[in-house]
């Protein structure tokens, strides 16, 4: 036997049983007094009742109770109903977005709390036998509660969803639901429904939602109000970087970008602090965002930028902040950990490539060690030689093991599962151009690749799955030819992989090659930031270097982070809140003993709730997206029948009492 609501039963028992016992003993506790006769006392009691102001009501009490019972039964016959969220089907997946934008206060107390309220209401109203599953989504999608019909567990699961500063990643959410959707599709039962509570403030709100009936409930000011464009106010810092002068590293250029997503221009003061001391304050006017497009998609945000010049010979913590009060505070401040100026030490493993040698030296490396593949293999038997360097470059040589530092591969591959070099199909030899490249990526900043020709027409096949993260940097007609790969299970090192032999291209002759190599050195030396300032994003898994191979690493800050060092690195758990973290055990090598975590995500800071037209229809089943929960009517005649029965019992008791007088 199973109890579906054991807690309710226990609460009711804990109240009623002691109450009954108490009433019983209270009744017994009347003091008994002998009197000569109760004749006059009974008369007095009856007189009190007769003269009571409610006597008339008492005389008519039976009639009143009968009328009430009849009224309740007649009401039940009329089949009364109650508005409730439209929840049908056998199983329900409730997804609650707890990304950074859900902390906005345009909805009181916050969008997330409102979403949780609606989720709790959905839990209470769902009657399907298959149960409900609670999923939280931000940068990571997590099943908070698997399918269950136990409402107390579901309520606890919803309440346990805590706010984060992470950006949302809808692709992960869709990927999580997809197996259930496919199973649903295969069985054809049509029993699964998905209910998503979100503000839609996602950078990559998918155009296609899963192939099950999905209801996307938008939370936000423009969603809660009328269909008009009531826009929440948010001025966000969406970019914050620092770069040291190449020739005079003590000179630091600090750059910040602000985006205004409100309908009114904003004039605000931007303060820049170095190690908690405010150094500069400037006033910036950021124009308002533009109107939404006809399809409901938000118009471009207003943009403002600031730049600062600082003299910082050593490391420092930079903080930038604006003073405009808006609905989301997580993006009002940003931090950077400025690493001390240092020139890289690089290892080049090549059988001879003067272009690479010259380019690396021209990139300002402090030391360039060149080894032949044979020398490298010999040295590897003792210890990986790249451990002494900041980065390694492999030219036409596939190392047997993953390098222990960030590396670049030209015409060769690191031993990453699923990463392949694929040769072109049979055909005449010809050169190809690059079709597209990621111009915004730090590696390709300021690099113009229009005139790059490739005689080597191999391309990359990138691994899939969650273990290996990969980013395509450049694509030719045959496929991706330049990519950034990282193996999460092996220290989170960054590997830049080029599918082509550099000597079979004209790139070394181009200015963009030197620019790229300079970017590459800086990027790999600073573990992928490409800047002098270090920061991470909420939800990122950060790997930090440690002094000893074993020990506990503890960061104190907006949240406490604990991890255990393994070998010479420590992989930290996802950082959920923005802010500055300080390592307290001394185990972490500087500058990683300070972690700056910033949102810097325009898509997440854009609090404007997308209109209905922002979503496109996916599969054959229509996707419903609306600004309010669709209500249906739930019949409640059973309650009236129950009330009628209770009134009849009460009427019977009153009647018995009267007969006993």
């Amino acid at each position: 036997m199973m109890f579906l609501a054991p807690l309710s039963g226990l609460i009711a028992a804990s109240i009623t049983v002691p109450l009954l016992v108490l009433l019983y003993f209270l009744k017994l506790r009347r003091r008994e007094v002998p009197v000569s006769s109760t004749l006059l006392w009974r008369q007095a009691l009856e007189d009190m009742q007769v003269n009571s102001p409610f006597q008339r009501l008492r005389r008519n009490l039976l009639l009143l109770l009968q009328l009430l019972a009849l009224g309740a039964l007649l009401t039940a016959l009329a089949r009364p109903s109650w508005p409730s969220p439209a929840l049908s089907g056998q199983r329900l997946i409730i997804m609650v977005d707890h990304s950074a934008s859900m902390n906005a206060t345009d909805v009181s107390p916050s969008r997330l709390e409102r979403a949780k309220e609606l989720a709790l209401a959905a839990v209470e109203n769902f009657r399907g036998p298959g149960g409900v599953m609670i999923v939280s989504l931000a940068k990571q999608t997590r099943v908070v509660q698997p399918f269950t019909t136990d409402r107390s567990l579901l309520r606890a699961a919803v309440r346990s969803i805590e706010p984060t500063d992470e950006p949302s990643d809808w692709s992960a959410a869709v990927a999580m639901i997809e197996p259930y959707a496919q199973s649903e599709k295969a069985e054809g039962t049509g029993d699964l429904q998905v209910l998503i509570f979100s503000d839609g403030g996602a950078r990559n709100l998918p155009a296609i939602l899963p192939h099950v009936p999905t209801e996307l409930v938008f939370i936000g000011e423009s969603a809660e109000g009328s269909s008009g464009r009531t826009t929440p106010d948010n001025l966000a810092i969406t970019a914050f970087s620092a770069r040291r002068d190449f020739l005079q590293p003590q000179k630091v250029q600090v750059f910040a970008r602000l985006n205004n997503f409100g309908t009114q221009p904003v004039t605000t003061h931007i303060s820049l602090a170095v190690d908690e001391q405010v150094q500069k304050v400037v006033t910036v006017m950021v124009p308002a965002a533009q109107e939404s497009g006809p399809d409901g998609s938000p118009g471009p945000a207003g943009t403002g930028t600031v730049e600062f010049q600082l003299h910082l010979p050593g490391s420092a913590v930079l903080r930038i902040r604006h003073d405009h009060a808006d609905h989301l505070t997580v993006d009002n401040t940003a931090w950077l950990v400025l690493a001390p100026p240092r020139r890289a030490r690089a290892l080049l493993v090549s059988s001879g490539n003067p272009f690479l040698e010259l380019a690396l030296q021209a990139a300002g490396v402090q030391e360039l060690k060149i080894m032949s593949p044979a020398e490298y293999e010999r040295a590897t038997r003792v210890e990986p030689p790249e451990k002494r360097f900041d980065l390694a470059v492999f030219d036409r040589f596939n190392p047997a093991a993953l390098p222990a530092v960030n590396s670049a591969f030209w015409g060769c591959l690191p031993p990453v599962p699923g990463l392949e070099l694929r040769h072109p199909r049979e055909g005449p030899a010809r050169t190809v151009r690059l079709l597209d490249w990621d111009r915004d990526h730090p590696l390709l900043r300021y690099a113009v690749l229009d005139d790059v020709l490739l005689a080597d027409r191999r391309h990359l096949v990138l691994p899939t799955g969650t273990r290996i993260s990969s980013l395509i940097l450049a694509t030719a007609e045959q496929g991706p030819v330049l990519a950034l790969v990282s193996d999460r299970e092996h220290g989170e090192h960054q590997y830049v992989v080029a599918a082509f032999d550099l000597l079979q291209t004209n790139w070394p002759m181009q200015v963009s090659f030197q620019v790229f190599i300079s970017n590459l050195v800086e990027y790999l030396m600073l573990s992928g930031t490409g800047q002098a300032g270090l920061s991470a994003s909420p939800g990122d898994v950060v790997t930090v270097p440690v002094r000893r191979p074993e020990g506990a690493v503890v960061y104190e800050g907006p949240q406490r982070i604990e991890a255990t060092a393994q070998q010479e690195r420590c992989v930290l758990p996802p950082l959920r809140r923005t802010g500055l973290y300080r390592e307290t055990t001394g185990l972490v090598l500087p500058p990683w003993d300070l972690l700056a975590v910033n949102l810097l995500e325009a898509g997440e800071s854009d609090l404007r709730v997308p209109g209905v037209g922002a979503l496109k229809q996916g599969d054959s089943r229509p996707v419903q997206a609306q600004s309010a929960v669709r209500w249906s009517r739930q019949e409640i005649w059973r309650w009236f029948v129950g009330a009628a029965m209770l009134i009849l019992v009460l009427e019977w008791l009153v009647y018995l009492r009267r007969m006993s007088f």
């Binding site: 003091r31 000569s36 109760t38 004749l39 006392w41 008369q43 007095a44 007189d47």
Partner: protein, 320 residues
């Protein structure tokens, strides 16, 4: 509350209810000082009644005493000594002088010994015994024929007819032995008494009259022509003012006679209502008594019983 003209309300502070109802000595019932004062009194009867023996009571019977009563015409055979010759001289007709004959008075003293009488401080039953002792004493010393009967739900016990001062110890001994017992059933008792006693005389019923039966029917039996009825109602201070007896708050009141329970929340409103009901009850009893030619008096047991007999009952005409 009973009317002021009928009783004096004690001002003495209330104490806990006493259960002492059986005095062990005669002087606990009648003090010598009080007895001396009693001897000056006698039971009075509003109706002059015939008795069996010549006592100190005037009877309506015309007999051979010194007190002229009436005339009647002479018929052959009458005693010539009683012809009024003055009247013959004036009217030239013969008339006989008739004289009042002194007879004894029958006094029945009915004392209620139901459990409700065993209540109060001072105890109602003890008070009743002392009252009966006083009335019985002054009846005996004036050669009235006295009989004391105890009753509850029926006539329980009685003395033999007593006459004369020498029978006082018997009276007192009987009273000392009386114990509270049983429930009250006044109507049945009065009916039984009226059927059993065919004589004529004074009937004094001493009770609290807190009877749940038909009081009117009970009084009807005493309304016979041959009875000169007196109702003496005794109430304890705790019955008159329950608040002073600690009847306040949530209580279970248990009837001492039948054990009935009344659960009350005794607050000011209920106590006020109780006192009003008590007043109404006594008034109703008085009206019923008066309607049937009975004398009614109510007394608070905190009134010194000597005061009750020497003053109050004299005012009411029971003693004089």
């Amino acid at each position: 509350m009973p009317g002021r003209e009928e009783t004096a309300i004690s001002q003495s502070p209330m104490s806990q209810i006493s259960t002492t109802t059986s005095p062990k000595r005669d002087d606990e019932l009648l003090s010598p000082e009080f007895v001396r004062r009693l001897e000056r009194l006698d039971i009075l009867s509003r109706k002059i009644l015939a008795g069996r023996m010549a006592g100190e009571r005037r009877s309506k019977k015309k007999g051979r005493s010194v007190e002229f009563a009436d005339y009647r015409q002479y018929v052959a055979g009458d005693d010539l000594r009683f012809i009024d010759w003055n009247l013959y001289a004036r009217l030239e007709r013969l008339f006989l002088r008739l004289f009042m004959e002194e007879e004894d008075l029958c006094v029945w003293l009915l004392v209620d010994v139901s459990r409700s009488m065993d209540f109060g401080e001072p105890n109602k039953l003890l008070y009743a015994k002392r009252l009966v002792a006083a009335l019985g004493y002054l009846s005996l010393v004036h050669y009235n024929r006295v009989q004391v009967l105890s009753f509850a739900d029926q006539l329980l016990d009685r003395t033999p007819p007593l006459r004369g001062r020498l029978k006082v110890p018997i009276l007192l001994d009987f009273l000392r032995r009386l114990e509270p017992a049983g429930r009250g059933a006044l109507e049945a008792v009065m009916r039984r008494f009226a059927l059993a006693e065919r004589g004529r005389g004074v009937v004094v019923v001493i009770s609290d009259f807190l009877d749940k039966g038909n009081l009117e029917a009970a009084l009807r039996h005493l309304a016979a022509e041959r009875f000169d009825g007196y109702l003496l109602q005794l109430l304890s201070p705790q019955e008159i003012d329950p608040e002073k007896a600690g009847i306040l708050g949530d209580l279970r009141l248990r009837d001492m006679e039948d054990g009935q329970i009344a659960e009350v929340s005794a607050g000011p409103a209920l106590l006020k209502r109780y006192r009003a009901n008590l007043q109404a009850f006594c008034n109703h009893l008085r009206q019923q008594a008066l309607r049937r030619g009975l004398m009614y008096s109510v007394s608070d047991t905190s009134v010194p019983f000597e005061q009750l007999v020497l003053m109050h009952l004299r005012q009411r005409g029971l003693v004089g």
